[in-house]
């Protein structure tokens, strides 16, 4: 397992995940900077992502859609806030309407990515901030969740039934 630390803060609705890679920061940066590589990991196998626009510079814009098993295509956008190759990237991630325009009614998620050099390669830290709990719920309901079957316990069972009811 490459994930070395996960810190969750339900009250402030942030989550920070840290992972280490046996590769240089320049190589790890390519996972974000090369849209063809990005497409191979951003969406789960059941909802692969396709990036149709991808400008990873400050103020730049990216557009993508994901294709679900039923042919449904939820669409997203990124607005790049900072990009300092190969160490730092921050961007806003939101939803787009079917016509491709930004959907201001749907919540945004703010990402802050840091890639550091360590002895064994690189350490990537990703902080995600959600404006509201609803934002998190909508994100998960969009079909981006995976590994739900691994979730155990009463709370998750209740959450799962609630998510199904909300669809």
């Amino acid at each position: 397992m490459t994930v070395t630390a996960v810190r969750k803060d339900p009250q402030n609705l942030t989550m920070t995940v840290t992972a280490e890679f046996d590769a240089s920061p320049a190589r790890v940066w390519q996972l974000w900077a090369d849209p063809r590589q990005l497409e191979r990991w951003w969406g789960p196998p059941t909802y692969p992502a396709t990036f149709t626009e991808h400008d990873l510079t400050p103020g730049g814009y990216a557009a993508y859609h994901m294709t679900g098993p039923e042919g449904d295509q939820p669409k997203g956008w990124w607005q790049i806030v900072e990009a300092d190759e190969p160490h730092h990237l921050s961007f806003r991630d939101g939803f787009r309407n079917d016509d491709g325009t930004k959907n201001p009614d749907m919540p945004e998620n703010i990402f802050d990515v840091t890639i550091e050099t360590i002895d064994s390669g690189s350490r990537m830290t990703i902080e995600s901030r959600f404006p509201t709990l609803e934002a998190l719920e909508q994100l998960l309901a969009m079909g981006m969740e995976e590994g739900l079957t691994q979730a155990v316990g009463q709370i998750d069972a209740i959450l799962a039934s609630d998510t199904v009811a909300a669809r």
Partner: protein, 112 residues
């Protein structure tokens, strides 16, 4: 035991405000009443009372009797529901990291 699912719409709305999130955090200990909670903020008692009422309706806090006083206590169950969502989000990122690792391994093999 059958537990009614939390009202997510209310829960979302209640947690969307920074002051209310702070009240939820402080009320985990369940030692303070509304008046004591109000002492932590630069807003009026009435405003804090309103925030507590919203949290109460969302099921995030309850008012309980503690001796002769009424204290505000966080409903950890509702908070855990929020945490459950974060857990699922974590799973999503673990999947992403696994795919990133595979991708890096692939290009390494190609270099050989």
């Amino acid at each position: 035991m059958q537990v009614a699912p939390p009202d997510f719409d209310r829960l979302f709305g209640a947690l969307a405000d920074a002051t209310r999130r702070d009240i939820v955090r402080r009320a985990i200990d369940g030692e303070e009443g509304v008046a004591e909670l109000a002492g932590h903020y630069s807003m009026s008692f009435a405003a804090v009372q309103k925030h507590v009422a919203i949290l109460e309706r969302a099921g995030l806090v309850t008012k309980e009797r503690s001796g002769r006083r009424k204290v505000v206590r966080t409903n950890l169950y509702a908070l855990l529901a929020a945490r459950g969502l974060l857990d699922r989000y974590e799973e999503m990122w673990r999947g992403r990291f696994d795919r990133m690792t595979e991708l890096i391994a692939e290009t390494k093999e190609a270099d050989r």
